[in-house]
Subunit: 374 residues, 2 copies
């Protein structure tokens, strides 16, 4: 790991160098050829793929080979509840929903409600609280448009009669030394946290167990989760199952431009339950790539790559490439000033969140049909 | 731990010094006063208590105080399946069944079918195999006369949707350092085995969770299991539940006189599924306390304390104290020779096993009514 930044599933520090991370983790880029192969089946690429927000992969070419042979894949992703979801949390689910639609893929969504309980030190994050949050997260997720007939969502504590047995099979192949090295744990880590990575591994081969034959699996995730599967993929191979393919997303930046919008820094994240005033105030504080004064900005223009406002459009709120180019150009040529720029983004986000909440209400009574128990 | 012997849940080596063990573990004897208090409720003492086979305890006086106040206790014990049960394995269940009868106690029996899978290195001990063995163990256990309405039996892998959540609460308070020190684990221990002790802790407070109020718990166990609860009792206290009381049994000796009849040394144990010839052959090889020749034995007599045949009567096969005394006297005064002695014991064991198997057949179709899932 470079000394300039640090990426673990529990903390991201410094300015992430995505190419260096990929190199160090041994993951490959999603190159033009792979994008073309995906587009062959999907018609058009999701903007998160075409724009390189999903930028790296493991074994994606193999997954598409299998698909070509008629061997359909399922998609596995998840979220560990710790509070309201941020817009950054939605990135894996947005791609997953698109994959379900385009590939008619079955989707497994794990909500490890014990994870933050075990890894956090806050005493108020009880299992009762994470359980509540888990159901709220599940509702946020299904509201993106998942199909009940093709989507299985489960909490670790509620689905453990299925998961724990398989986790034990995984755990037998993982020593404390391995976990210590991979996650930087010490001897003072608690034994639930140490064991946890085995639980996260299970959905990557669970469908193969259930069907009694190997089923390819694709995992969209943000890069901080890759380390779990660096260990798990080897073990899953040893157990005789296909190793899962992975596509890796970059982090949505924080409001202040830090590499990752982290749910644990409340002032720097936009939450799905933020009200309109809060969103306006937060975006008002967002880092832009603009000059120090309006005059200088008009004269020299700004840098959209450093501008959080532009990046939120690129990652999330402007799917149309031509419109995105206009926004970037207006930032670059100085024709759009920060205030106007931010007001427009805040309005766009508020409109998105308003619609999202409407969809949540429609999905609320359907939620049970997505959830698995035992 | 003394250097002369070693007791862990996975291995017992050397000649166990039970008093030294109790001292080192910080456990107290079951003294005459405690025995009298028990007998006050039960009428007569079970011979395993009166003979000091159960010889030590934690917090037993408190448990009886609670009982006196009308606060009934439940009993928790268990077995980790690894093969057919030995007669030694029955000792905690025999006392548990007696406690159920005498105190009208509810009984929780945990069958951790992942434990030997995780702690063993034999590749043929799969989870499928331990699952099979677990059901055979459950049948052996209920055949001792447990009441279906008052007995709950569960396998860890089948009951994990209940157990795992509670185990996570326990695990959060246990560091790898603690497990390393207590069990002598190294960094090369697998993370499932490291986590396992949390699963074993759960049934000691599960009834309190279920009832939403504290219920006293009594755990009969062989001393090698005490270490799990040395850690767990503190944690259970921190979680706000009553710490469980424990009664500790000595080990049934192996045929060769080694301290513990271990299921992993097949030649030195009597299994519940041994046939009559096997039992005769095994008892024929058992260590006795007799002199080298019949003539010397007639002249000087033997030592019943060193005689495995006498000890099997004492631990298990002769509940009647007067009859036991006759057996011991006949060994001591030289009037009974090894061959005759062994033939009688083998016949007694075979009769016990024959009846046990008959009971098993009667219980087989009732077994489901004891088992919990999810």
């Amino acid at each position: 790991m470079s000394e300039k930044y640090k990426v673990t599933p529990w903390k991201v520090e410094g300015v992430v160098d995505y190419d260096a991370f990929a190199k160090q983790a041994g993951i490959q880029p999603i190159d033009e050829e792979l994008k073309k192969r995906i587009a062959k089946y999907t018609g058009s690429l999701h903007f998160m793929l075409s724009r390189g927000i999903y930028y790296a992969q493991r074994q994606l070419s193999w997954l598409l080979d299998e698909y070509e042979k008629g061997n359909k894949f399922y998609v596995y992703t998840g979220i560990a509840p710790s509070g309201s979801m941020t817009i950054g949390h939605l990135i894996p689910f947005i791609l997953t929903q698109w994959l379900q639609e385009k590939f008619d893929a079955e989707v497994y969504i794990q909500i490890p409600d014990e994870e933050k309980f075990l890894s956090h030190k806050e005493p108020d994050l009880t299992l009762e609280r994470t359980h509540e949050l888990a159901y709220e997260d599940a509702l946020d997720i299904v509201s993106l448009g998942f199909k009940p007939s093709k989507t299985k969502i489960f909490l670790d504590t509620e689905y453990a009669s299925t998961l724990y047995k398989q986790a034990a099979r995984v755990a037998k192949h993982i020593t404390f030394s391995m976990v210590k090295d991979a996650f930087g744990m010490t001897n003072e880590a608690n034994i639930g946290w140490i064991f946890y990575t085995s639980m996260q591994a299970v959905p990557a081969f669970l469908k193969s167990v259930e069907e009694g034959k190997n089923v390819p699996c694709l995992i969209p995730l943000a890069i901080d989760q890759d380390v779990h599967f660096r260990i798990a993929r080897d073990v899953i191979g040893k157990l005789g199952y296909y190793k899962p393919a992975i596509v890796h997303a970059k982090f949505l930046p924080a409001l202040n431009g830090a590499s990752k919008m982290s749910a644990s820094d409340k002032t720097q994240a936009i939450y799905l339950n933020d009200d309109e005033d809060t969103v306006r105030a937060k975006i008002g504080r967002a880092l832009t790539g603009q000059q120090a004064t309006a005059e200088l900005q008009r004269k020299y223009g700004g840098d959209p790559d450093k501008c959080v406002v532009c990046q939120y459009y690129r990652y999330f709120f402007e799917p149309d490439d031509r419109k995105l180019k206009k926004i970037f150009d207006a930032e670059r040529d100085g024709s759009m000033l920060a205030g106007e720029h931010k007001a427009e983004l805040a309005a766009t986000i508020n409109e998105y969140l308003r619609k999202h909440r409407q969809k949540k209400e429609r999905y609320r009574e359907k939620l049970d049909s997505f959830m698995l128990e035992c």
